[in-house]
């Protein structure tokens, strides 16, 4: 059992971002060979078809399904959380340890303090506020941070409520 645990832990570090997240289509959707609209179509999924999400790239997610595997538009899918509702299987819990560093145990014993009641009864903590102020960064530092990662600004207006941009 201990070996299995160690093996799973190692595997999860190289595993894709999603550990097979179940989802379903909200409309008829084409599965593409590549994450682009003009890529070749592998198959067409009907509405409410079940898929498993493996990873995401921009607005596209890589999926497996009975109809075929490939890329579909992320917003054509909604997550199926019936599995989560039934509680994690032992296997999923193990995978989660490696993936996020927080197991169910950590959550149960961790610091909460942000329930509705906690917020209503909170007393001010000026020392922490001072710490927070010390962490703040200047405009110049933020601009350098963006340049360091080659982040480029884009000109884009806010979106109207109903229409496409």
């Amino acid at each position: 059992m201990r070996y299995l645990y160690a093996l799973l832990l190692c595997a999860s570090f190289v595993a894709p971002v999603y550990a097979k997240q179940p989802a379903y289509t909200v409309r008829s959707t084409e599965i593409k060979q590549q994450p682009f609209s003009d890529a070749a179509t592998v198959a067409t999924l009907s509405e409410k078809a079940s898929v498993n999400i493996l990873s995401r790239q921009g607005g596209w997610v890589r999926i497996t399904s009975e109809s075929g595997n490939g890329w579909v538009k992320m917003l054509s899918l909604r997550s199926d959380n019936t599995a989560a509702k039934q509680g994690d299987t032992g296997l999923q819990s193990l995978l989660n340890v490696g993936r996020s560093g927080s197991s169910g145990i950590t959550v149960a014993t961790g610091v909460r303090g942000l329930s509705e009641e906690d917020l209503k009864n909170a007393h001010p903590n000026p020392r922490e506020l001072e710490k927070l102020q010390n962490y703040a960064v200047s405009k110049a530092k933020a601009e350098k941070f963006a340049r360091d990662a080659k982040l480029k600004t884009q000109l884009l207006d806010y979106l109207p409520l109903d229409g496409k941009s």
Binding site: V17, Q21, A23, V26, F36, S37, R56, G58, G59, W60, M74, L75, L77, R78, S79, N81, A84, K85, S100, G101, S102, T106, V107, G110, V111, R112, G113, L114, S115, E116, D118, L119, K120, A122, H123, P124, N125, E128, L129, L132, Y135, A136, V137, K139, K141, A142, F145, A146, A149, K150, L151, T153, Q154, L156, Y158, L159, L161, D162, K164, S165
Partner: protein
């Protein structure tokens, strides 16, 4: 008929008073009218920052900051960069990771944003972090919490807030009341439409900053897949519309044009070294 007669006699009585007494009454009435009118106006920026600091101190009383200055600096840099793409770049923007394992994020008037360690650990890259922070930034830009505070506060507090009581670090009792009323907004939550607006504008701010526009939708999809009964999500789910509803709205407005924007690979590397590998 009787009322009209009463009114008339009242008027007669009024005019029979000495002139100075009448002036006094009129001034008082005018001042009340002015205050009521001001109650619909917004609180000015120094007051907003002052109230915000009080609320931030309260939230920090409920959960301390995560003791990891490197991660705190990282989140501040992402957040400050995002703030520069908005119409309020000069606010004293501050970003903090709360040590709480709850999954949530908070926006406080005047430019303070909190993300819980619980939520940060669930994120996969810098674009997802940017999506969450940009959503919270919009609440500050649009003064959603100030409006909720004024709407939910008792009439006397609301009128004090709009009046002169807070000017130049004025009445501390009024400030205390405002901060208390302001903190309660976080237990109650904002209007649904404020949340939708924060999503709609948030994706644009993240895109302007050079991030992948789908960071926020990806986080919403993660939340949608989570167990809604989990206590770490209780307050977030209580105070926000269902992730499914939020995704449907983004689905309607995000055209294929958004596919053209991608985040540079360096941001992924950075997220891994500053967050993922330090969990």
């Amino acid at each position: 008929m009787f009322i009209r007669a009463l009114l008339f006699s009242g008027l007669c009585l009024l005019f029979s008073f000495p002139a100075h007494a009448f002036d006094f009454d009129l001034q008082k009435m005018l001042s009340i009218a002015k205050k009521t009118q001001q109650a619909t106006k917004t609180i000015d920026e120094p007051e907003e920052i002052e109230i915000g600091n009080g609320i931030a101190a309260n939230l920090l009383g409920a959960s301390s900051l995560l003791d990891d200055s490197r991660a705190q600096q990282y989140v501040n840099q992402v957040g400050r960069w995002l703030s520069l793409q908005t119409e309020r770049p000069d606010l004293p923007w501050k970003f903090g990771i709360l040590e709480s394992t709850d999954i949530n994020a908070f926006s406080i008037p005047g430019g303070t944003i909190f993300i819980t360690h619980g939520l940060l650990q669930k994120l996969n890259n810098e674009s997802e972090l940017a999506g969450v922070l940009a959503h919270e930034i919009v609440h500050v830009l649009r003064k959603h919490h100030l409006a909720a505070l004024q709407k939910g506060a008792r009439m006397d507090i609301a009128s004090d807030l709009a009046g002169e009581a807070l000017k130049n670090k004025g009445d501390p009792a009024v400030l205390d009341k405002a901060i208390k009323a302001g903190t309660e907004v976080y237990a109650r939550g904002l209007d649904k439409n404020d949340e939708f607006e924060a999503d709609r504008m948030g994706i644009v701010i993240a895109t302007r900053a050079g991030y992948d526009p789908y960071g926020l939708p990806a986080v919403l999809q993660m939340l949608e897949a989570s167990n809604a009964q989990d206590s770490s999500l209780a307050l977030m789910f209580k105070t926000h519309p269902a992730p499914r509803e939020r995704l449907s709205l983004l689905d309607k407005i995000m055209s294929d044009g958004f596919d053209a924007y991608t985040a540079p690979a360096q941001t992924d590397k950075r997220f891994n070294s500053e967050v993922s590998q330090r969990k």
